[in-house]
Symmetry: C2
Subunit: 402 residues, 2 copies
């Protein structure tokens, strides 16, 4: 006797990335697959001191139920940080979330009806597709050029869109950044239309040479929903993020959040507030930027050294990812088992396409977790695999079964 | 220009309890409204020691991403605890959640289609109604008698139900416990039907004279979804709970959870595991039981002392709540402003009814948070209010506006 599951539950399918991550536990495996922050970036001592302080001085608040919106001083800290970036944010327009993924889910709950059009970059963040899909949207890809996604909203589906989802800074998976000029065009195209701009910014603080352009939210007040996270600058295991949105949207997101899981851990909020108020980021952010920059440089150097000339990539100016394009006809999914035999794992690009036909010849490499030495070793192996299989884009099935 | 929100977002409305809780911040207010655990029950020193230990010995795991299912040893701890209660539970049938409320939301996602019948007790837990409602079920009330809800599934709506939602132990809001005999009848009635039993057990550990009967899940393997929480025995602010379900349901719940917010805080899971492995509950549970028992006794004594004879209640054998019935024709919602004038807040019973017409003359009192002295003072005030308004069940509107 089987229980009857909801039709929605058919949307809940295994993430190819989370499945791949299970392989990374194998001894000797070098993972270029996950977007896991480097463990050496975690501010362990600062969090330890904050833990002790919070439990010594405010244990009752830290262990009791709290407001669904999040604690007031943390909301104020987020609002002040957004104001410093040019966004006219008030604390009561901020909802504290259990990571950005929860922000995406709540946005999906509150904005998407079955059949609503959601415009996305091509390729786009897999986690957003997973968060939105159960609410039944029609995804429509945006065209793009070297400056990023194009704000051409002339197709009927585009005109009726419920929202545009963008990662303007060091986008996952391509590493691309939307130029300031393109942001201005987007703001102009959207202004006055009943289309929400959902601006997802997990990587904006991880810039290398200089900060990315001002958030789009600064130019679209009352129409923008901005998502941020403490996962990349502090720790992803703490699960802390935030959403900034117009008051009437925040009110609905907060009520949806109450139904979903009441609130984010009171202890976690106070811990993080404590390290933020202690000024940790002043030292932490330059340290992380330097770390990821050196790992990006190691990966770029290794790619130059080991990749056959037919493989192409762009240089990301921040974030965690480099997007590789193999020659036309190559199949990054079919080549993955060969990479795994060499103890290297990456994510095939097909996972990141919402609509249309996904090209088979792309893949995402993360330089966030592996050391420069591991990166060089892994890229050398991948260079071998891609070189040896240039003329056999369609794999031998016996290899995949190995 | 307003953004277009989803039709679903109309289901997200303010919880009357959360709105009432805002009043409890007023100076001098005694709250009998919330189900907030007593702050003196929080094991602050044990959590402080666990924090230090975890960050000293396993910081990398505690601050990094982890599995969506939860960390393996915590899942095993939960499974062992359930086995000790007679449920044939394996660790891989356990999903760690960010509190029981998240378990309810995930169950709603995976089981409820628009129009699915969900059978509930009358009255039932408000948080479950809020979690399920956005998925569009038709709620149907169960009839009951002195032993609890009746397993009469003869109406067409009942036969086609997707699930039965029960709180068998010290139910919120009535404090009632389903007898062992009634549990056996439920198991027999459900066995072999494609109806999930959702057994929500936040209060089972908070018994006073002896443990409640064996969980229904023990008699309905493969068909039961059992929800538990660490909120009442350790701390609600940590947001930690769990779901036990058949493997195919756990798989879907886990994928839904991945889309919703990836995972529960890695740090929180390790903290709680550390205090559990240290044997904290052996001392903590008897302490909490004694605390709530003394507060229940204080409330029962105060009710005997101060309530007019026409007010009725039952004696709960555990949990946090006493359910009051005023005379027919009285209106607990209309009387609330009079109670607030006397600096006492409670929850009118109408909030807890899913379907049908809610009686206006019931209310929920919590003895979990206030001290025995505060309880006596508050009940004395309520006794005054209910006595003075016995003959005026329909309030004077000018009073409500005050």
């Amino acid at each position: 006797m089987a229980l009857t599951l909801s039709q929605r539950s058919a949307h809940y399918t295994a993430s190819p990335i989370r499945e791949l991550l299970k392989l990374t536990d194998q001894p000797g495996m070098i993972s270029l697959a996950g977007g896991l922050p480097a463990p050496e970036s975690f501010p362990v001592q600062a969090l330890r001191a904050a833990c002790i302080d919070v439990l010594d001085t405010q244990a009752q608040g830290a262990l009791q139920y709290g407001p669904s919106e999040g604690i007031a001083p943390l909301r104020e800290w987020v609002a002040a940080q957004l104001r410093a970036q040019g966004v006219a944010a008030q604390a009561d327009e901020v909802l504290i979330t259990s990571g950005s993924q929860q922000g995406l889910d709540l946005v999906g709950r509150v904005l998407i009806d079955p059949g609503s059009t959601v415009l996305v970059e091509r390729p786009t963040y897999l986690g957003a597709l997973q968060a939105f899909a159960p609410y039944g949207p029609c995804f429509a890809d945006l065209d793009d050029d070297a400056q990023g996604a194009l704000p051409t909203l002339n197709a009927p589906a585009h005109r009726d869109a419920r929202m545009v989802y963008l990662q303007p800074n060091f986008r996952n998976p391509t590493g691309q950044t939307l130029t300031a000029a393109r942001r201005a065009q987007w703001a102009q195209a959207l202004r006055g239309r009943p289309i929400a701009l959902v601006e997802d910014n997990p990587y904006g603080d991880l810039w290398f040479d200089g900060p990315p352009p001002v958030p789009l939210a600064a130019q679209l007040p009352g129409q923008s929903i901005l998502l941020g996270t403490f996962s990349k600058m502090l720790s992803p295991g703490l699960r802390l993020g935030y959403v900034h949105a117009p008051p009437e949207v925040i009110a609905k997101l907060t009520l949806a959040r109450q139904a979903a899981d009441l609130q984010t851990s009171s202890l976690t909020q106070r811990l993080v507030l404590k390290v933020l108020e202690g000024g940790l980021l002043d030292a932490q952010l330059p340290r992380i930027r330097a770390l990821y920059r050196s790992q990006r440089d190691a990966m770029l150097a290794a790619l130059e050294r080991h990749m056959p000339s037919c493989v192409r990539w762009e240089t990301p100016q921040g974030g965690m990812f480099i997007w590789l394009s193999l020659p036309e006809g190559a199949d990054a999914t079919a080549l993955l088992p060969l990479a795994l035999q060499r103890k290297v794992v990456y994510v095939p690009g097909t996972a990141f396409y919402a609509a249309g036909t996904a090209p088979r010849n792309t893949l995402r490499l993360s330089y966030a977790t592996a050391t420069p030495e591991q990166i060089d070793t892994a890229i050398a192996h991948l260079g071998d695999v891609f070189s040896q299989n240039q003329t056999h884009p369609h794999h031998d099935p016996s290899v995949l079964a190995a």
